[in-house]
């Protein structure tokens, strides 16, 4: 069974990130996700939206659409924007064992997104822009508290 999705559009303004986090907190919480799962998804959506606003729009006006859907046992978060095309899933994971100066905070953002989700998928938007889909099972992972 697929319940109706919840959706929010924010302008490309870091001050509005809190609204995106709250949307995910509300929908994931209502879906019965544990605190660990909710925290992870809030992290992932914040990192993704921050990247879009900071690097995608880079100060230019724009918008970010966030949709949170419950699809069976899975939460699916979709971020859509019309910023220049950029695939964050193509970024290498920072090598945590190497003291490399190339390991920038942006790399930490993608690392946190990967750890926090089960799947990250990117596709360009047909009319320009980006669509990033983050998927996570509602059930906690084996190492997490139920």
């Amino acid at each position: 069974m697929t319940r109706p999705a919840d959706r929010l559009r924010i302008p490309a303004d870091l001050e509005r990130l809190a609204e995106v986090r709250q949307l995910v907190r509300d929908v994931a919480g209502a879906a019965g996700a544990t605190r660990d799962v909710v925290d992870d998804l809030v992290q992932a959506v914040d990192e993704a939206a921050t990247n879009t606003i900071t690097h995608g729009y880079a100060g230019a006006p724009g918008w970010v659409d966030v949709t949170v859907a419950i699809e069976g046992p899975t939460l699916v978060i979709t971020l859509e924007d019309d910023a220049p095309a950029f695939d964050p899933t193509g970024l290498p994971d920072p090598d945590m064992t190497v003291p490399a100066l190339v390991r920038g905070p942006g790399g930490m953002g993608i690392r946190l997104m990967r750890i926090a989700t089960d799947e990250l998928a990117y596709r360009p938007r047909a009319t320009g822009g980006n669509i990033l889909t983050m998927t996570r099972s509602i059930a906690p992972r084996p190492e997490e508290n139920p």
Partner: protein, 139 residues
């Protein structure tokens, strides 16, 4: 929730400045933390305790603020956010060797925040205590 910052001065075996962060530390607010720590250092503060008891969220932007705070409390310029994390390893090695006193400490980290610190390798680099009293006594 917007981030609230509160600065307090206490006397332990050394003077300790407490910077309490309440709310969420994200891309909108991390520069305020850097500014607050810069102000503390410039005012002569040399022992900083960040009280994270009421910090519910930290993003990678917040980690940049933590990293910058470590640097500034060592008397160094905060790094360019694009420069990267290379300096973290050097700081961590020195702390482990006892070569320098850790001038920045944390207390009261909630699970969600500690998880992020640990997942990015920053957690072990900053001494962390359960509460203010324990942290102040450890300076």
């Amino acid at each position: 929730m917007a981030l609230q910052t509160t600065v307090e001065q206490v006397e332990g075996s050394v003077p300790v400045t407490i910077l309490a962060l309440d709310g969420e530390l994200d891309g909108a607010s991390y520069e305020r933390v850097i500014d607050a720590v810069r102000g503390i250092y410039e005012a002569g503060g040399r022992h900083l305790l960040m009280d994270l008891t009421n910090l519910q969220f930290i993003s990678s932007s917040g980690l940049v603020a933590m990293h910058s705070s470590m640097r500034m409390m060592r008397g160094e310029a905060p790094p360019d956010p694009e420069e990267g994390w290379g300096a973290l390893h050097a700081i961590g090695a020195e702390v482990a060797e006892g070569a320098v006193q850790a001038n920045l400490r944390l207390c009261g980290t909630q699970d969600a925040v500690q998880k992020v610190l640990d997942r990015t390798g920053l957690g072990p680099l900053i001494p962390t205590y359960p509460d203010r009293a324990t942290a102040i006594a450890a300076f």
